[in-house]
């Protein structure tokens, strides 16, 4: 069970950020995933919210505070100097990391976990390197290229942060060169050439990691609360000639051993761009000791050889299937429609989202002014807004309960508090049901508050639990029997959804639910499910 609940992913639009967000979306206990980047996401995301911002510290800080982020995953690192200019890379790798760390630090920060995606370029590649770098070795020589210098500096910043914030668990992952069918790196570019250029007289040792393994490593570290520095590289170190053999490419030792840089620059003119940090690797190679991560329980799916074979298969297939599938393009309007529009009826298209306290306040303001202007409820256009408010209210109620006290909150600012308070009112109104009956108040009618309950929200359960406690104190569960649903919006829930919630309910609540169900709709499926759960809980309460 992970300790992460609210995750911020920087660099959502990089391959890593996007894949990690997709992976984390599968874990229901991670309730919020927020991604920031300055470009549009490149992968389709289900419930991750995207915010387009630059690396500015103040903006990041606001997002971290507002969303009460507890886990930050930094996947922005640029490791291929040909993809951007050296200045931009530095801006992103060093200044960006600095800003992000500043946004996460401080005594009142909510961040408890920080995961940094680094690169094995940190170790460099030199003549007197060990055959396998372990995490404790660091870099034996000063960095040679700008990218390496950036990575070293960024990691130093992260280590510094770890030292200054001992209660934040920090993990650094140093990835070997990544290969895969969808990721584009300097190496996949090199291997897609008809002949693979090499430095004459050298056959360096190479270690790769498959893109899926790289993503699962990130997920593993985030989800299993791992801290420390880890190398991420597949088992097995291949010789470059072996790699070419597996790919079915001939290798061309066209780069001279002396004056390699100049020759590579000439090749660059011809369109074969080999970044300088890679040139060093093509001479001396690099091996990583991956055992430390394996000792934490991580299992690689592919060895280096299998990674290369996979790429070979993809390269053979690529000309055949090319263009068969449209690449994903992020459209803000479409995403918003799918997340928010009431007209998205088919649940398989509906994307989930949650509101931040700030957004809730905004919505509440809009709602109240709208309600004053329109007056009577019940209009079709009204429905959507009231629904949104109801959802917001429930999210707020959850927040309030998490904090324990609606009034006294330390982390978030005044805005959030108002939002939370508003949320409590609305939630209690809808949960107690009877006093907020359909009427002509500015409050939306309870019947209109119809939260989409594809995934059971925590607050109805809590409401039910509260109710059950109250019922227990009164000495009878009979209150539920007289037309009052034991779970908020019970009538709107499908049978399946009810059955899913059952396990989380306490016994008195179950009894109340059974009474209510048999009194009203008496769906056999629900009734039998409730009885089943009660039977499982033991015979004591049956009679």
């Amino acid at each position: 069970m992970t300790s992460s609940r609210r995750v911020l992913i920087t660099g959502l639009s990089t391959y890593w950020g996007g894949r990690l967000a997709q992976a984390l979306e599968r874990h229901p206990e991670i309730e919020a995933i927020i991604g920031v980047d300055n470009l549009d996401p490149t992968l389709e995301l289900e419930r991750t919210e995207f915010v387009r911002i630059s690396n500015q510290h103040a903006l990041l800080r606001r997002i971290v505070d507002a969303a009460e982020i507890d886990t930050v995953v930094d996947s922005r690192l640029v490791v291929d100097s040909t993809t951007t200019s050296a200045r931009l890379a530095h801006e992103n790798n060093v200044i960006g990391t600095m800003n992000l760390l500043a946004a996460c630090s401080g005594p009142d920060s909510t961040v408890r976990k920080f995961v940094f995606k680094s690169s094995a370029h940190l170790y460099g590649a030199e003549q007197d390197d060990p055959g396998f770098f372990t995490e404790s070795m660091g870099r034996p020589h000063p960095p040679r290229t700008r990218i390496e210098r950036d990575i070293v500096e960024a990691e130093a910043n992260v280590s510094d942060f770890a030292e200054k914030n001992p209660d934040v668990s920090v993990a650094i992952l140093r990835f070997a060169n990544v290969l895969g069918s969808t990721v584009k790196t300097a190496h996949t570019r090199l291997f897609s050439l008809p002949m693979v250029p090499m430095i004459l007289g050298f056959d360096p040792r190479y270690q790769f990691v498959h893109e899926d393994d790289a993503v699962s490593a990130l997920e593993h570290v985030v989800y299993d609360d791992i801290r420390g520095i880890y190398n991420v590289a597949a088992d097995g170190v291949l010789a470059f000639s072996e790699v070419c053999g597996l790919l079915g490419k001939t290798y061309a030792p066209i780069l001279p051993p002396w004056g390699t840089g100049a020759a590579a620059a000439a090749l660059g003119r011809l369109g074969v761009r080999i970044p300088p940090e890679m040139l060093q690797q093509m001479r001396f190679g690099r091996g990583l000791d991956n055992r430390k991560l394996k000792a934490t329980g991580f299992r690689y799916r592919y060895t280096t050889r299998e990674t290369v074979t996979k790429l070979a298969e993809h390269m053979r297939l690529h000309p055949v299937v090319r263009g068969a599938r449209e690449p994903y393009r992020y459209e803000r309007e479409v995403e918003d429609f799918l997340r928010w529009s009431p007209h998205v009826r088919n649940p398989s298209f509906r994307k989930e989202s949650r509101l931040s306290p700030g957004e809730m306040v905004e919505l509440q303001k809009v709602m109240s002014s709208y309600g004053e202007r329109v007056g009577a409820p019940g209009g079709g256009s009204r429905r959507s807004q009231s629904r949104a408010v109801a959802r917001a209210a429930e999210a707020g109620a959850a927040d309030v309960e998490a904090e324990g006290d609606a009034g006294a909150d330390a982390g978030s600012g005044g805005d959030a508090r108002t939002g939370a308070e508003v949320g409590t009112e609305a939630a209690s109104g809808s949960a107690s049901g009877t006093d907020a009956g359909p009427g002509t108040s500015s409050e939306p009618p309870a019947s209109a508050i119809r939260p989409r309950a594809r995934r059971p929200d925590p607050s109805p359960k809590r409401a039910a639990a509260r109710r059950a406690r109250k019922g227990g104190a009164n000495g009878s569960g009979g209150a539920a029997a007289d037309g009052d649903p034991p779970v908020a919006h019970y009538d709107d829930l499908e049978a399946d959804e009810i059955v899913r919630v059952l396990d989380s309910l306490e016994d008195p609540a179950l009894a109340a639910l059974l009474d209510y169900e048999s009194a009203n709709r008496a769906r056999p499926r629900v009734v039998s499910a409730i009885e089943g759960v009660r039977a499982r809980r033991g015979g004591g309460q049956d009679g």
Partner: protein
């Protein structure tokens, strides 16, 4: 050897016992039968070819190697072989390796540590790892000895041994800084001292050509009977001296943490050097002829 630095970014993860190196041994990557290269870059194919042709010829017919004390090489577990070193392009390492594969009841591959220089020199860089050479990095020795439990051959004299001229033959140079003893103690692997007689005469070095060395960027350019006037192949132009290889009784280090005792490390290094030197004098005294043994 670098002392492991704190790489855990603060405290250990609660709930997990602190990781010791020993725990990591079972996480070593498995062997993939589809591959012909090891993770160190050793190639079965290239090594087999080299073994069948060049090595076979030199071992059996040219140097007519004579081996004693092969039982001192352990049949299992890591062990550090320590030998004297000589010759322009030293044939001794290859002959020791061949001796183990030929004479030992359980032949095992031998990893030969070489200077980092070779990794940076085109050609050597490509070929040497394929036939079992590994850069002489303390971390490499540790992994091979302790984690992979293999045989490792080191020449503590290093290039001081191969640079020395014919007139200084069989006089051991300084044994480095005792790093090899430290490595063995750290890995708790025994040291097997090895004496090789014959290599000095097979490739005598008469002089070092400083100017050529600077021009080519090589470690050293020796003047031998065949090099450099016969070109690069002259490097292989060994004289047919009779080789005698003697494996001495192993020295065991079973106690943990011995490597921290610096004076003990130096003492053991001195002892081993003295034993090899004595045995060399002994073997030379018994040798009737350089060419026929």
């Amino acid at each position: 050897m670098r002392e492991p630095v704190a790489d855990d970014l603060g405290a250990d993860r609660p709930g997990l016992p602190a990781l010791k190196d020993g725990d990591l041994r079972r996480h070593l990557p498995g062997v993939e039968p589809e591959r012909t290269l090891t993770d160190w870059g050793r190639s079965e194919r290239v090594e087999g070819f080299y073994d069948r042709t060049l090595l076979e010829f030199f071992y059996r017919y040219w140097f007519r190697c004579e081996v004693e004390g092969i039982e001192n090489v352990p049949a299992s577990g890591g062990a550090l072989l320590v030998s004297n070193h000589s010759g322009a392009l030293p044939p001794d390492a290859a002959m020791i390796g061949k001796a183990i594969t030929e004479e030992h009841p359980r032949p095992r591959p031998l990893n030969i540590t070489v200077e980092h220089f070779f990794k940076g020199y085109p050609g050597f860089s490509m070929l040497l790892p394929k036939i079992g050479a590994v850069a002489a990095h303390p971390a490499n020795v540790q992994r091979l000895l302790y984690d992979e439990e293999q045989l490792v051959l080191v020449f503590p004299e290093g290039r001081k041994g191969t640079e020395k001229l014919y007139k200084d033959r069989y006089r051991l140079r300084r044994f480095g800084r005792g790093g090899f003893v430290e490595a063995a103690m750290r890995a708790q692997a025994p040291i097997v001292p090895v004496c090789v007689v014959g290599a000095e005469e097979a490739a005598p070095v008469f002089a070092q050509l400083k100017l050529l060395q600077r021009l080519t960027g090589l470690l050293y350019v020796p003047l031998t009977p065949t090099f450099p006037h016969l070109g690069l192949l002259g490097m292989l132009g060994y004289l047919p001296a009779k080789f005698k290889i003697r494996f001495l009784e192993p020295v065991h280090f079973d106690e943990e943490g011995m490597y921290r005792d610096e004076s003990l490390v130096q003492t053991v290094a001195q002892d081993i050097r003295a034993r090899i030197q004595e045995n060399l004098w002994d073997m030379l005294g018994k040798r009737g002829s350089v060419w026929f043994g």
